[in-house]
């Protein structure tokens, strides 16, 4: 799902019996790692280096650091829901360049993908939730 820290999307996915690949779990691992101590995320200088798998050396370290967390989630994904034009509170992950790359990688994976625009009205919201639910149910059927 994208943004990968959207609680609303995570909840919708979980309710339909699927596993949401969320950023919070990755950050939790970082925070709870007793080996390292550089709050708040315990990101180390090794992390942007790991991110090189997804973005070249000339890409800013912040993008690569983010990709070291988001990249493996993208690799694991078996389906994707992408939310475009989401406001900050929906689950923004800060860096526009990282977002562009994440969405591109998810599209490139060739997995079932639902692309949506953040709803602006009550009706649009109902329609959006229905679309997500149908997409998730369809995944179940495809999976047998």
């Amino acid at each position: 799902m994208f943004p990968p820290n959207s609680l609303i999307l995570a909840d919708l996915i979980e309710r339909r019996g699927h596993e949401p690949l969320v950023l919070q779990n990755e950050i939790r691992k970082k925070v709870k790692d007793p080996e390292i101590d550089s709050p708040p995320f315990n990101m180390t200088e090794e992390d942007p280096i790991k991110g090189l798998k997804y973005a070249a050396i000339e890409v800013p370290s912040g993008v690569r650091g983010r990709m070291s967390l988001f990249g493996p989630l993208i690799d694991q994904a078996e389906a994707a829901i992408l939310m475009d034009e989401a406001p900050f509170g929906f689950g923004c992950i800060g860096c526009a360049r990282t977002n562009e790359l994440c969405v591109y990688y998810l599209r490139k994976r060739g997995i079932p993908t639902l692309e949506l625009k953040y709803p602006k009205t009550h009706d649009e919201t109902i329609e959006l939730v229905n679309k997500i639910n149908s997409f998730l149910d369809q995944l179940e059927e495809d999976d047998g």
């Binding site: 070249a56 050396i57 890409v59 993008v63 562009e100 969405v103």
Partner: protein, 413 residues
């Protein structure tokens, strides 16, 4: 005329466009811009799937799509964006992969500054032109007759004399005066073979001093080192068919070349700092009071984890080294840390830009430093690294091999 498609953003505004065109025309190539129209730009970038904010980069994607979809004709591709642009760096890399996955065109990528000059692009443009214009020559798998290969590198000069697919003489010496060094190298290579320079049927020259020496000696082949080295590497490693990666950690710059059936199809050159070069290892060995030839075996005995040495800069790298020694670090551990640091930085700066294909053939003088070869393999997750015999003479061997395909020198006379 070789047509090089330029896929770029920012070149006009950086003032480097004329330099790019000058570099291409120097090697008989012409820069062309793939055709697109306004509707196609929207269509293409949506199809590509990268929602970038910059319209210049959207145009770049559309131009790449135009090549892949066969709407524009080109023999090679030059991809460039501004240094320090994050979006440019992201898209540049993805566009490169996209073209390589969908076409057989050779591709070069570059990030430029306002100070980029044609000279810096020469080797890249020359390699692109060579791969296209001299494909049949690069496909040559066997050396014939008596030919001489000279590699006038930034640090060392290497000479190889070959006769009927065998190396019969070699020369090696540090580069000072390029012509004098070459003459001495030739003497070394000829010694004991019973031949003299007049007997040679072809001379192939590569390396930084190639133009000066080539002109002076009337060489039959003057060629940049990317294509020559990769040819020499697959020949010596006996891997002329299929895919491979050639890694040359040099004295001044590093080259990583991917090869398919002996023909290079992608490469990266350079590095951010000398901390990722052979020069760093040379200075390390001097600091440790050992000969460079002893550094490899020393490193193999040490553990890099016991010494912290990971600076991008050669000056700070040596500072780390001195600090480690002062803190009681052993020579072995410091040597291992130096090798590991170079391998790691080459990986971070260059190997990531390229789809490394097994086997990796490591060449150049630094391939003789076994600690470095071990570190490269380890950094790449235990990849199969081959160091062929004569690995430090790779450019000279490539030159001697390729020039044998150009006909008989005496017949021409």
């Amino acid at each position: 005329m070789v047509k090089i498609a330029q896929i770029s953003c920012g070149t006009e505004y950086s003032g480097v466009q004329k330099e790019i065109e000058k570099a291409a025309s120097t090697f008989g190539a012409e820069i062309v811009f793939p055709e697109t129209d306004l509707d196609y730009i929207d269509e293409a970038y949506e199809k590509f799937g990268f929602n970038c904010a910059s319209s210049g980069i959207r145009l770049m994607i559309a131009r790449a799509m135009s090549i892949v979809e066969g709407k524009s004709d080109a023999d090679a591709v030059f991809i460039a964006t501004c240094f320090r642009c994050a979006e440019g760096a992201l898209v540049r890399n993805e566009v490169r992969r996209f073209i390589q996955q969908n076409t057989r065109l050779p591709v070069v990528t570059y990030s430029f500054t306002e100070r980029t000059k044609a000279d810096e692009l020469f080797i890249r443009m020359e390699a692109l032109s060579t791969i296209v214009a001299r494909k049949s020559l690069l496909a040559r798998e066997k050396q014939e007759g008596l030919t001489l290969g000279i590699d006038s590198g930034s640090t060392t000069t290497k000479v190889v004399l070959m006769e009927n697919n065998s190396i019969i003489g070699t020369g090696w010496l540090p580069t000072t005066d390029v012509l004098e060094c070459t003459n001495n190298g030739i003497d070394q290579a000829m010694e004991g073979t019973g031949y003299k320079l007049d007997d040679v049927e072809g001379i192939g020259v590569t390396g930084y001093g190639r133009l000066t020496i080539g002109k002076k000696m009337g060489a039959d082949l003057i060629q940049e080192e990317l294509s020559v080295n990769s040819k020499g590497a697959v020949y010596l490693a006996n891997h002329q068919k299929g895919e491979a990666t050639v890694l040359d950690i040099g004295g001044m710059d590093n080259k990583v070349i991917t090869v398919n059936d002996g023909i290079p199809d992608n490469f990266t050159m350079g590095g951010i700092c000398a901390g990722a070069s052979g020069r760093f290892l040379e200075i390390t060995s001097r600091r440790l009071g050992v000969d460079i030839s002893e550094l490899g075996p020393l490193a193999s005995k040490g553990n890099y984890k016991n010494a912290l040495l990971n600076s991008y800069c050669i000056v700070f790298g040596i500072q780390d080294l001195v600090t480690s020694l002062a803190a009681g670090g052993s020579k072995e551990d410091v040597a291992a840390a130096a090798c590991h640091s170079v391998a790691e930085q080459v990986y971070e700066q260059q190997l990531q830009e390229i789809d490394v294909r097994e086997p990796l053939i490591q060449v150049g003088g630094t391939s003789l430093i076994e600690g470095l070869v071990e570190a490269v393999s380890e950094v790449l997750g235990g990849i199969n690294v081959i160091v062929p015999e004569y690995s430090s003479h790779i450019g000279a061997v490539g030159g001697a091999l390729l020039v044998s395909g150009l006909g008989n020198r005496h017949e021409k006379e």
